[in-house]
Amino acid sequence: MSADPLRFNTLMDALLYRAEHQPNELAYLYLEDGESIEIPITFGELDRRVRAFAAHLQTIVKPGDRALLLYPTGLEFIIAYLGCLYADVIAVPTTVPHLKRSSPRLLLMMKDAEAHVACTTRGVYEKIKFLADENVEFSDVRWVLSEEVREDGAADWQKPESQPDNIAFLQYTSGSTSVPKGVMITNFNLVRTIEDIQIGVMLDKNSVIVSWLPVFHDMGLIFGLLSAVYAGIPSYIMSPVSFLEKPYRWLHAISRFKGTHTAAPNFAYELCTRKISEDEKKVIDLSSLVCVVNAAEPVRLETMVEFSKAFEFCKFRFDQFTPSYGLAEATVKVSNKKIGETPAYCILNSSDLEKNKLVFVQESDPNAYPSIGCGWSAIDADIRIVNPATRVQSPPNEVGEIWIQSDSVALGYWQRPDVSRETFQARLADTDEGPFMRTGDMGFIHDGQVYIAGRIKDMVIIQGRNYYPQDIELTMEKCHPALRPSCGAAFAIDDGEAEHLVVVQEVRREFRKSDNFKEIADAIRMAVAKNHGLRVHAAVLIPPSTIHKTTSGKIQRSAVREAFTNGTLEILYEWRAPVMPGRPTG
């Protein structure tokens, strides 16, 4: 194993070590415009600024207090986050609200975390001051602006004891309609997860990370930023907006800085395949990549095959893809494909899968459903497949809920003893083995790899069969050229008697004024029936960029469902099945 063998008790210890032993080496380089404006920082300078930030915090709050971090992508965020660790203050990273729509979540989080301070930049503060003025949740909060931290304050810093069991930060989950829950990640969880990543994806002293992922979210924070400090390697970062505006910037940065490690959810690879032109490809060389993580949303074989084809010219190979599985409750990572191996997949019968049965079929089978292997843990996590109803371990030919016992499993949810017990202290009903963390994800283990079938809470159950919404969404987006990929939601609604399938899908900009909406909706209805044996109860077409997504770009099905039931969706065309038998109303 070529991974840097150095191990630390806490991330603070790691940065102190890096600052002492490699002070002049590059830690981060922030590409402010995604291309040419470069803001670098070395480990030595980073440590000094983190000490200064921590010293400032120490004059305001005490260890264990919560500090809300409201930052855009950039060095200020990293310094503030690490500053919290240096002050033994619990960081609560979150997205900067820019629309009124995303502020209810922030207020709920504020209330739940009982934050004592809110840290941000002056620019952001000016924009969101109205929140503080209008909401009681902010009335007792002290604002800390990064610009106010004295550069020479580092000398005043009081080093706290390295406490592996103290909470390092709260990672709030992307709950949209319910109150968000803060996952309590300890210093130990954080360090062990980074070791899991380090060994699992072979981060060594020659590695170079490139990331555009949101910094307040687990994958962007831990894989994109923190693993660089731990391993003592540079990370080149840009904002999600830079990437979304021009996906080319991401691959170009990899090419320019000879990136070896990068990560993104599946949709990002689709976006690159669609948006990067042949001319742009001419200046991209992806041969430096060792590990290209595909995680955080369902991993699609087709996406990876198409991306590999599209970027073969740029020296990209399919085996550079590293499908991975993780969740905030396990700090970020559970498993990843072994570096150097080709991503494994198996072809299942989708109709048996709906009944939680694993039946392997040929690729030519009309019900063929490819499922991607997400590898295994690099820190010996105990991973089990369990029937969620009986809580008994599932036989090998069944799909069940993924249960985990590992050093990366978080302490629980902040101030939620009941939900925490249910999720983090599960035991097998027959053998009493435990405690396990219930992931809420359905999957199976095959040939030593974890495979994910879908989320329990998103699962659409109609007439006793389980459907994974992402499968229906894929069918939908492919059935007509007017539809925007990765911009549809499938979910069930309950009319009191039965569950019914509803699909909501964006149309492309150029089709916004189409006079053919009926034809498009008809195509969706027929395609879903054909591929899933299921009729939609309502098919709704909406304008581009109006579907509810999380800050990291995942479809928020529950929010779309709520907007559908409340009648608050902006609708271009809608077809609904008649409630009573009779003639359709469409």
Binding site: R525, M526, K530, R535, P581
Partner: protein
């Protein structure tokens, strides 16, 4: 539209789209699902076809193997809905 026209359209749809064999000599009273010729899965497609082509909605409890096993059954049910 009479039952024979409905049957003709249904036959064409089922042979082309579900059986993937336009030449298949499908008889009016031939069992489609119980014979294994087509999957009960495919009834959803027949249901949507009825909605699009004949503008009738067959509710789920009626879109079942015992009520929709032959062209005769299907066309009779569709006609009944059209006349309702």
């Amino acid at each position: 539209m009479d039952q024979n026209e409905i049957k003709a359209k249904l036959r064409k749809f089922i042979c082309n789209e579900i059986l993937n064999n336009a030449e298949y000599p499908l008889k009016d009273d031939e069992a489609l699902i119980t014979s294994g010729l087509m999957d009960s899965f495919s009834l959803a497609q027949v249901g949507v076809f009825a909605e699009l082509e004949f503008n009738v909605y067959i509710p789920d409890p009626e879109l079942t193997v015992d009520r929709m096993n032959t062209l005769d059954d299907m066309s009779a049910r569709i006609l009944e809905k059209m006349q309702a």
